[in-house]
């Protein structure tokens, strides 16, 4: 197999001391970020990108560290779900349903061990899926012209808006806001300034790292300030015995984990769905087929294994469209895409040909990181439990300050810091009124690329708009896009996590 020999080369890249240490650091930080309520994977990766960037890490090591953070956060989210009944991040919401009841029955150690193992199974097989599916998608993507790319970008926005949001109009507003922000600055094709109002600092456009850190990290601090004093961790609740699960329990859950993995992976590959949908579908499906005595929701181990396998598999699946097409499927992969763009690497089919060491080194590092995470998350889980006890009143100022350090490190300009604060306020207001942030980010990231492809397509056709739907491939993409946007309006009640769980109080509507 072609993919396997490339993967072997990837292991040669990943197995250097520096890359192994970075992967370990990423896994460790990621688990902490995932475990801390309020600091989800997108926020965590967003804060760390400017740092990785200003430290001058080359592309492969930076990407290895940050995707390790991403995988680690998916593992870590379950810890506070199980022990505190507070999801550490959005995809871990479903794990509270059976994880917390298990902890109350005195089975916290079993629940943590089982969910750690389920996370491993999900992430491992999803990474295998990535190895085989990504090259296939690349072959398809090589057939794409500008018109198809334009349709593909539209597809990403429309499915993201359709599936991830409760309100399609608000998702469309979010996407338009992001695209509008991307238009600021000098037009790449004709060299004329747009929307910069004579302000020279705006000629370069808005740096998307500034926008991302502001929207995610700074707004998080503001949200915390609004809710201060609510739901803090209590040391008394965090007792856990030995972290092991009996073999019979693991054996009983093997099928559950594998089903969760397949469903989660598929949900992850869909553009716009992400890990939250993966864990949701895995849980609901498992409940349908194996809940004979109505014990789901009262501490059934399968109810812990299914969503954890699902969300970790979805995390791996979401990397497929990001790497192969350059179109991220979720919030965190959008943030990872931002890092690649900041390093002047454009993901997509050409990445596999021009920088195979980056892609395959990353994938190999994910396999290695996965084993590290298994070790960190079962024998050493007690360490992370202690981190949960750091009160937010010390944590959030540190998060804010690290965000400032990162952005200041990129440009050294006060102007960028001000722009970041403005984005923070904007992020806070948008979250309050339930406008998803991920389409905004995606718009800021992809806006220029999208316009470039549209204009190229129309240059080829000499201004004839029908080129946009001029090939069967483009028509198929448009059909999917429209279905992805319209179908959830009718069947949305079944696939939308928050509405069904009844925990609408969770403010974020973003797929991680």
């Amino acid at each position: 197999m072609d993919a396997l020999s490339s993967l072997a080369d990837g292991f040669a890249v990943a197995l250097t001391l520096q890359n192994l240490l970075l992967a370990l650091l990423g896994c460790f930080l990621g688990t902490i970020i995932g475990a801390l309520p309020g600091l989800g994977p997108s926020n965590g990766v967003a804060i760390l990108i400017p740092l990785a960037f200003t430290l001058g890490l080359p592309a492969t090591p930076a990407l290895i560290m940050l995707t390790s953070v991403y995988y680690g956060a998916m593992y870590g989210g379950r810890i506070s779900s199980i022990l505190l009944n507070i999801p550490g991040d959005e995809p871990a919401l479903m794990t509270t349903l059976d994880g917390y009841p298990m902890a109350r029955k005195g089975q916290a150690g079993e629940a943590l061990a089982l969910s750690g193992l389920a996370s491993f199974v999900g992430a491992f097989f999803a990474t295998c899926g990535l190895v085989f599916l990504a090259p296939l998608l690349v072959k398809l993507a090589l057939l794409f012209g500008p018109a198809e790319y334009f349709a593909l970008f539209s597809l990403a926005f429309m499915t993201l808006g359709g599936i991830a949001s409760r309100n399609q109009a608000k998702a469309a507003i979010a996407a338009a806001l992001g695209l509008g922000i991307a238009m600021i600055g000098v037009d790449h094709q004709t060299g004329v300034p747009r929307f910069s109002f004579g302000e020279v600092s705006l000629y370069d456009g808005i740096n998307f790292l500034v926008a991302i850190v502001g929207l995610f990290a700074i707004s998080e601090v503001l949200i915390f300030l609004e809710h201060k004093g609510e739901g803090e961790a209590d040391a008394g609740k965090l007792k856990l015995g030995r972290v092991t699960a009996p073999l019979s329990m693991i054996w009983n859950c093997t099928g559950t984990m594998l089903r969760g993995t397949v469903l989660g992976f598929l949900a992850g590959v869909l553009p716009g769905a992400g890990a939250s949908l993966g864990s949701f579908i895995a849980y609901i499906f498992e409940k349908r087929i194996s809940d004979r005595d109505g014990s789901f929701g009262t501490g059934n181990p399968r109810g812990v294994a299914a969503p954890e396998a699902g969300n970790n598999a979805a995390a791996g699946g979401a990397l497929v469209p990001m790497l192969a097409l350059g179109v991220p499927g979720s919030g965190t992969t959008a943030v990872l895409l931002a890092m690649l763009l900041a390093l002047n690497i454009t993901p997509g089919p050409l990445l596999f040909q021009s920088n195979p060491d980056v892609v395959w080194g990353l994938i190999a590092a994910l396999f290695i990181g996965n084993f590290m995470l298994l070790l960190l998350n079962i024998p050493m889980v007690g360490l992370f439990v202690r981190v949960l006890l750091v009160p937010p009143r010390y944590l959030m100022p540190a998060v804010a300050m690290i965000s400032f350090v990162g952005i200041y490190g990129i440009s050294g300009s006060t102007f960028d810091l001000m722009v970041m604060i403005i984005f923070g306020i904007m992020g806070y207001v948008l979250r309050k009124i339930d406008v998803p942030l991920v389409p905004v980010i995606l718009g800021v990231l992809l806006g220029n690329e999208m316009e470039k492809n549209l204009r190229r397509a129309l240059t080829i056709s000499d201004g004839d708009w029908s080129i946009l739907w001029g090939s069967p491939l483009a028509i198929a993409l448009w059909t999917f896009a429209i279905l992805g946007f319209v179908l959830p309006i009718f069947i949305g009640r079944f696939v939308r996590p928050k509405a069904a769980v009844g925990q609408a109080a969770v403010e974020e509507a973003d797929p991680d």
């Binding site: 309100n167 109009a169 747009r194 100022p397 540190a398 350090v405 490190g409 309050k432 339930d434 201004g463």
Partner: protein, 143 residues
Amino acid sequence: MTDRVFGLICVALAGFFIWQATQIETGFIVDPLGPSAFPIIIGGILGLAGLYPIVKPDAPPAWPHLRRLLEIAFAIAVMVAYAMALPEAGFIAATCVAAALLSWRLGASPLKALAAGIGISVGIYAIFHLALGLSLAKGPWGF
């Protein structure tokens, strides 16, 4: 109500955006579409989507009480002041004050907040500047 106001803002913003797009001067390089067509499409989408919350608003979110809003405004003011003070006062001094103020407003007692401020600024300085070599803002005292 919140949604209606938001929708109106979006429609107004869309109008402004489209108007600005028509004002873009074309240079001597031309392509069939030009620099203003795509922004006009975006403005159109923003305006149309903005109509929906006006016609059919969601239930309003729970806005915080005035006191909490003032707290948030205070935190924003601290961050703005921090951004401006950074090049003047140097990293350690500015970060120490800003982190202490934020920590105090998040519920730490004044003394503990001060300790947190010192801990956070010295900690970041040690890790990112001394260990990793990231350049931070230099103040009058060189740190």
